[in-house]
């Protein structure tokens, strides 16, 4: 693509849009627990001065410049490029000329249709915005066509648009958007504009280069942590190391005398030092002598967490799904039972948490990269006591979200500090604070029972026990004791099982805050189900691929993915000793994925993952290269968790603190990864989290194939794999 460097995603929030809200809430009904929102095709832009703004996503100015407003945040998943491709496709805009701009906080204009608020998460940006964006752009296009028809006094049907140019073929007349917007602005946007036939797509489906990457290879990209408002000071903080504890006494005598230290800010549960630069702030913080009131969690340990959740998992849960009669089915065949357990995990995005804030008596300005923009604005308004419209939030590129930036806790803390600072202050968390004060992927316990008869599953019971993040994060969606995220990929298990019961037991761990973590609910469910499926295959002397395929009669897309992955991975071909292949399939986030991991284990239990093959049917693909990249990256994220991910608690504190003891997979441990996309005309699925859920499940099965040892807990325990410790 020409002139990539000129196409720079604008990094700041849009100028305040004043047009009236145009997203109407629709009442959520019955079992559909997500709040449903409908995006109408037009707003009241007509007649306003300024650029042609037929809806919240498109602006065309008098020079013909097309600005596309990004409702979703860019955190590496390529969403800016994908959204731009969808809009430009239906608008027939010249893609290399569009300019991107981040949406300002505004739930009504830019709320995610799935959630009703501005959220980038749940792998649903394309799923949620695919039709609304297409309709918005197609409506704008129809208005431009009509404007050209009126200008030339010809039939609109005789006009086409190509590369931002209206063309009347028979007369040879051509007119750019700049010459059309005046008339178009006076038109009423159509209610149901015609959408393109997918076979006519020119952009969607092509592996276009990303628009956000050129500035990410030359140091010019501005993440939240990079903003430098004039006069900015720097702060870093120490939160009470024990969850829920408070600040007792702070002796700051030594810190105040250090060069570059300007201020010590003592708050309820944390202390911050403000300095001329981050180094001075860090030195100041280290020089403080803080006494904490550790509170009631000061004795909590990981053992307490597991004792509690294991007990909780013995009680009956809220029923998430029933098919047939599970109790009867379980009584009829050969019964097999297993319990799977997953640990707490931290997110550890590469960009440490940060937020820059300037509070004045009349306003508050916030610079931040966050997955929930409107929540950042709301929390800043609450902390400052200012009305919402006095809080400006500049959204930035995000250096890794993974769910951590679905929380606004770090914005709240930054505003609390900024209220006491004269001028803007950039608050940066050290990596240690990031690891020790995360909202953690909760521990989960999956209790599974199944009975086999004639090689098929005749009864199935799955009880998921764990924290409900939904109940805290989106309370209206937590209904009848069911966390719809925690049961995701379990209640909708793809296998043909005549008698099934899926239950959920909410168990909030003592002390430890929990949050969404890339892969969310499907992480534990896919891991537990797919490892258990391998146990059942073994029990009935069947090949793991054959066993699954026979039960996927009602899931043809998943079955096709399984067949492709097995073929590409060379399933069944001989392997050296202590080397094995494992398979896992999943229907998650609207995508159908099969994955084969090949791994080898040495006599000390050290694991080397050699190869991963994933076949995916994710419906219509907007940008195939991005889909492949998301799977490659997601698989690495999942492998990292399976091999190393473990947050433990002692005396109410997290024991890990940085990358030396919270390990990441590195380049020298990388397997070969192959991703195969299955062409599809179905609606787009989600892709950002699918690799993450696939890798641990398939790895567990590969390790069993290599060693005969079944790991029912993660992360991988080398002592178990070496035979030194029982499984």
């Amino acid at each position: 693509m020409a002139n990539r460097a000129q196409k720079r995603a604008s990094l700041h929030a849009g100028r305040g849009l004043t047009r009236r809200a145009f997203i109407e809430a629709s009442v959520s009904v019955g079992g559909a627990l997500w709040v449903g929102f409908r995006v109408p095709l037009a707003d009241a832009a007509a007649g306003e001065k300024g650029p042609f703004a037929p809806n919240a996503f498109i602006r065309i100015d008098a020079t013909g410049k097309i600005t596309l407003i990004m409702p979703q945040v860019e955190m590496g998943q390529g969403i800016y490029t994908a959204i731009a491709m969808i809009l430009a496709e239906e608008l027939d805009a010249a893609f290399e000329q569009v300019v991107l701009e981040a949406a300002p906080p505004n739930d009504k204009l830019y709320g995610n249709p799935t959630f009703g608020i501005q959220v980038t998460g749940n792998s649903n940006s394309i799923r949620a915005f695919w039709m609304p964006l297409r309709k918005a752009a197609a409506g704008a296009r129809a208005m431009l066509v009509e404007a050209a028809a009126q200008t030339w006094k010809v039939d609109a049907a005789s006009i086409r648009i190509e590369n931002s140019m209206a063309i009347h073929e028979t007369s040879g007349r051509r007119l750019g958007f700049a010459g059309l917007i005046g008339r178009a602005a006076g038109l009423t946007p159509p209610q149901n504009p015609a959408l393109k036939d997918p076979k006519d797509f020119k952009l969607v489906g092509k592996p276009l280069k990303r628009l956000d990457t050129p500035d990410k290879v030359n140091g010019k990209a501005v993440y939240g942590i990079d903003v430098l408002p004039p006069g900015v000071k720097f702060a870093t903080l120490a939160i009470c190391p024990v969850f829920g504890g408070k600040v007792g006494h702070v002796d700051d005598g030594r810190a105040r005398n250090l060069r570059g230290v300007r201020q010590v800010v003592v708050l309820d549960d944390f202390v911050a030092v403000v300095g001329d630069d981050m180094w001075s702030a860090k030195q100041g913080l280290a020089a403080l002598n803080i006494t904490w009131n550790e509170g009631s969690n000061a004795t909590v340990s990981t053992d307490d967490v597991w004792r509690q959740i294991r007990t909780a998992s013995l009680q009956e849960g809220a029923v998430a799904k029933i098919i047939g009669d599970a109790a009867k089915g379980l009584s009829e065949g050969e019964l097999h039972e297993a319990v799977y357990e997953l640990p707490f995990l931290a997110h550890a995005p590469m960009e440490p948490l940060n937020c820059t804030v300037h509070v004045t008596p009349t306003g508050c300005e916030v610079w931040v990269g966050i997955q929930v923009l409107s929540r950042a604005q709301a929390v800043a308004a609450k902390v400052t006591g200012l009305p919402l419209e006095k809080v400006t939030v500049h959204n930035h590129l995000i250096g890794g979200g993974f769910g951590r930036r679905l929380e606004a806790d770090f914005v709240e803390k930054a505003v609390l500090i900024a209220k006491q600072v004269d001028g803007p202050v950039k608050v940066i968390w050290t990596r240690e604070e990031d690891i020790q004060h995360d909202v953690y992927r909760p521990v989960y316990l999956d209790r599974l029972s199944a009975s086999l008869s004639k090689g098929r599953i005749v009864g199935w019971k799955h009880r998921i026990t764990g924290s409900s993040i939904i109940a805290r994060w989106l309370p209206p969606a937590f209904q009848k004791g069911i966390d719809i995220d925690a049961i995701d990929s379990a209640a909708d298990i793809p296998y043909d099982i005549p008698n099934l019961r899926v239950e959920y037991v909410r168990d909030e761990p003592p002390a430890v805050p929990t949050g969404f973590w890339r892969g969310v609910g499907p992480n534990n469910n896919v891991f537990a189900i797919e490892n258990f499926m391998d146990e059942l295959a073994k029990k009935s002397n069947q090949d793991p691929v054959d066993f699954r395929r026979n039960l996927l009669g009602k899931a043809p897309r998943l079955k096709a993915a399984l067949d492709l992955a097995a073929e590409k991975a060379g399933w069944g071909s001989p392997l050296p000793a202590r080397t094995g292949r494992g398979v896992a399939v999943q229907t998650a986030f609207g995508s159908f994925i099969a994955t084969v991991v090949q791994a080898t284990v040495d006599e000390h239990g050290a694991v080397r993952v050699q190869r991963i093959v994933s076949a995916v049917d994710t419906g219509i693909v907007v940008n195939p290269d991005t889909v492949v990249a998301q799977l490659q990256g997601g698989l690495v994220f999942g492998l990292t968790a399976a091999l190393y991910g473990h947050i433990s608690i002692a005396k109410g504190r997290v024991q890990q603190s940085n990358f030396h003891d919270y390990r990441m997979l590195r380049i020298d441990e990388m397997p070969q990864i192959e991703v195969y996309l299955i062409p599809s005309g179905e609606a787009p699925g989600g892709i950002g989290e699918t690799g993450t859920t696939a890798a641990p499940a398939a790895l567990g099965n590969a390790l069993f194939a290599a060693t005969g040892i079944r790991l029912r807990r993660l992360p991988v325990d080398r002592e178990v794999l070496s035979g030194k410790k029982p499984a």
Binding site: R4, M75, G76, Q77, G78, K209, R210, D212, T213, P214, K216, V217, N218, G219, K220, A221, V222, I225, D226, L228, F234, R259, D276, D277, M278, W279, K282, A348, P349, M350, E351, P352, L397, I398, G399, G400, G401, F402, I428, R431, D625, A629, Q632, G633, G634, L635, V636, F637, T640, N658, F659, H660, M664, L665, R666, I667, D668, M670, Q672, I673
Partner: protein, 151 residues
């Protein structure tokens, strides 16, 4: 006052000699392309070059830099290896969130300068100190090889 040679220019800063180069670059000189990731030389996000050799700026005191030439992500494009690496990064579409990529590019261009045709073991050795949480490692390896071929 300490004078540093940064991307071919003299920069004088009023800072203590023990202040790490990372914060001098970012907070005093406003050169924010070099990233903070861990503060203990575990992740490589802060990688810069001293006389062409990759170093972790988060643990390098400016008092120990002397008159050696500092190259950062903002300046590496004007070196032959750096420019080839940056181009390969875009050609292969390595980047996702991009936060670690300044450091990755600095490590990779130092590798290419010292080892114009690195094999997989060379790449592992030079790049294992740089964490990418988005998991772009396969494309990093591919891009380094592509840049080497272009040299």
């Amino acid at each position: 006052m300490i004078t540093l040679q940064v991307n071919g220019e003299s920069k004088t800063v009023d800072a203590a000699p023990e202040m790490p180069l990372l914060w001098v670059l970012r907070d005093l000189l406003g050169m924010t392309g070099t990233k903070f990731g861990c503060g203990i030389a575990q992740c490589g996000a802060c990688t810069v070059h001293l006389d062409g050799v990759a170093v972790r700026s988060c643990v390098l005191s400016i008092g120990n830099v002397g008159q050696r030439n500092i190259t950062t992500i903002e300046g590496v494009g004007s070196t032959p290896a750096g420019s080839r690496i940056q181009k390969a990064w875009l050609d292969v579409e390595v980047v996702q969130c991009g936060y670690c990529q300044s450091g990755q590019i600095m490590s990779a261009s130092a590798l290419l300068r010292s080892t114009p045709h690195p094999n997989d073991a060379d790449i592992d050795a030079a790049m294992a100190g740089n964490i990418c949480r988005c998991g772009t490692y396969a494309r990093i390896r591919e891009a380094i090889k592509k840049a080497a071929q272009a040299g």
